[in-house]
Symmetry: C2
Subunit: 339 residues, 2 copies
């Protein structure tokens, strides 16, 4: 079946009548080798179609040059662009990227993390699931001194590097914009409190209200899973209030879009009857009518930085680097839905 048996460094060594270690050194551009042998070996390697067995090298060196990534869903634009950033940077450093998705399920997340752990990834980059309320599975890594880095949604009880955006301020700014444009009754469709990002966005919202001396109305706060359906329902409840809001800060673009749909069906004018804002700047947000005001999160940049940071940590194993929380800037994008 196999026409070409694998060539090993021993085959090369044998052919060249030198030792395997010399071949190894030549192939790895080790310093203690003569130009001549190096050339000879490399030429022969190509000639014989040698390809290094990364597995064996990894086993020996106890490094895999692989980083594991766990995200809730790969097909959400924010995450896929983050992965794109991770992959682009990792590539330049010769690292592989293994990805897995938690589907926002704690159990699946634990499973993913375990598997990556067993596969001896050199580090893990993760954005946690909506259900994650424990941290045992992350401690595996800290205990073995394997770098773990959270981006966007982090686990507050684990000391580690983090790449985040300033959700509090972003929530504040986008709410403030609604106030500025004259909204008096501002509602918020929030995500699960379990996740810092949603809590922060909500607190930013509260802060803006407070600063403008707008009293907070319990009924104007809806906590949901931020799916399309839940968003639609929450928005419907808001608009059914005796005194419905004239501005709604939706926790993400998906719910903002569902709110928009609701308005179209029910003949509500956006932004005149009710102004809407989202969060994330999904690809569709710029092109819906009316276009959606939102907060742009630099997904690609976050991924890129995450990879940079973790690979740096991996490569400086031994030296102690203090943990860092890197906050990337968001951009407030005001479009028709609130202008």
């Amino acid at each position: 079946m196999k026409k070409h048996p694998e060539i090993t460094i021993h085959n090369l060594a044998h052919e060249l009548k030198i030792s395997a270690s010399t071949v190894s050194r030549a192939l790895n551009d080790n310093s203690r080798i003569s130009e001549k042998t190096r050339h000879l070996v490399q030429k022969k390697a190509i000639e014989m179609g040698y390809r290094p067995n990364v597995l064996a090298a990894n086993l020996r060196s106890k490094k895999t040059n692989t980083i594991g990534v766990v995200v809730p869903r790969i097909d959400r634009y924010f995450f896929s662009s983050a992965i794109s950033g991770i992959e682009d940077y990792a590539w330049t450093k010769g690292f592989n990227v293994i990805i897995s998705q938690s589907n926002d399920l704690l159990l699946k997340e634990i499973n993913c993390v375990q598997t990556l752990f067993n596969n001896r990834v050199d580090g893990i980059i993760i954005s946690i699931s909506m259900q994650t309320n424990e941290d045992k599975h992350f401690r595996l890594f800290s205990e073995k001194n394997i770098p773990i880095l959270f981006f966007d949604r982090f686990c507050p009880t684990i000391e580690s590097d983090r790449i985040v955006v300033d959700d509090f301020n972003s929530g504040y700014k986008i709410t403030y914009q609604l106030i500025e444009r004259g909204c008096k009754r501002i509602a918020h469709i929030a995500g699960p409190e379990l996740l810092n990002i949603y809590k922060d966005r909500k607190n930013g919202y509260l802060r803006a209200l407070n600063e403008a001396k707008i009293p907070f109305t319990e009924a104007y706060l809806e906590v949901t899973g931020l799916t399309k359906d839940e968003g639609m329902q929450a928005f419907a409840r808001l608009m059914a209030l005796p005194n419905p809001p004239d501005g709604v800060f939706c926790g993400n673009d998906t719910t903002a879009l569902s709110a928009l749909e609701y308005c179209q069906k029910n003949n509500l004018k956006v932004p005149n009857d009710v102004a809407l804002t989202g969060f994330s700047d999904e690809p569709f947000s710029a092109v819906v009518t009316p276009s959606l005001s939102t907060v742009k999160q630099p997904g690609y940049q976050m991924g890129f930085q995450a990879a940079k940071r973790i690979i740096h940590r991996i490569e400086s194993a031994g030296t102690i680097i203090p943990f860092e929380q890197i906050v990337l800037p968001t951009t407030l994008i005001i479009r028709d839905s609130s202008s």
Copy 2:
């Protein structure tokens, strides 16, 4: 630094006063082992916090339980949903997924493929770049009998499994719909001929014209890279013709969107002045105004099937399985831009 040294099967063996091979067998649920020892070993393994060294096992067994994936860009919805499908299926079979992106560059693609090859992936799933006009890098795999599977954009000169959609028919159907709605001068913004999918879409277009006895007009065919900018320019050229088209079949949704933008800026009514259709059903296509007619490709399903097929092939190594081209159905989605 490390508080917990790695536990190996030898440690377990030593503790239990049995041999390492017995431990190995017990851990792998080998048949030639007594219930009693199996239990004893597995209990001890948990107790001591043993975790298998996948690397060593892989080196020995010459399998990695890993499949490599190469796509042009991870952050395009079609591809990220395909990856999602791949990951979901692979997960159920205990396979890891290494991803990399070619950025539609041949050189990067070659590099990715080589790296995956050196990393000894058990199989590779790929959608080729826009530049790919050679197949040497794929032959590596066929020569070593490592399964390779193309999805969507395939390399015609490599015999292999393929998961595709019927681009010819889809192109035909969507053009036919334009004819049906009364368009007389139908243009097409095509992608590079190098890729089968774009050629097929174009041929479907030609077929529909032919069937309706509409003569083909050279000026109505624009071949581009299907980016936003190129799409916009191509569309502008079309509309600047002395006899501009009243219907345009765009090779993908991105160009259709840029055409839409052009119309808005230039006060052209869609679909009345010119009807538009895209291809792919990107998330934004349903929500732009006017909403975009398009062809829905089952990205997730394609990925899922791809993983299923390749893992099946990997697991039946040795048996000869004929190559198959699996054609998944598309859905014609008629929305406002052409209705």
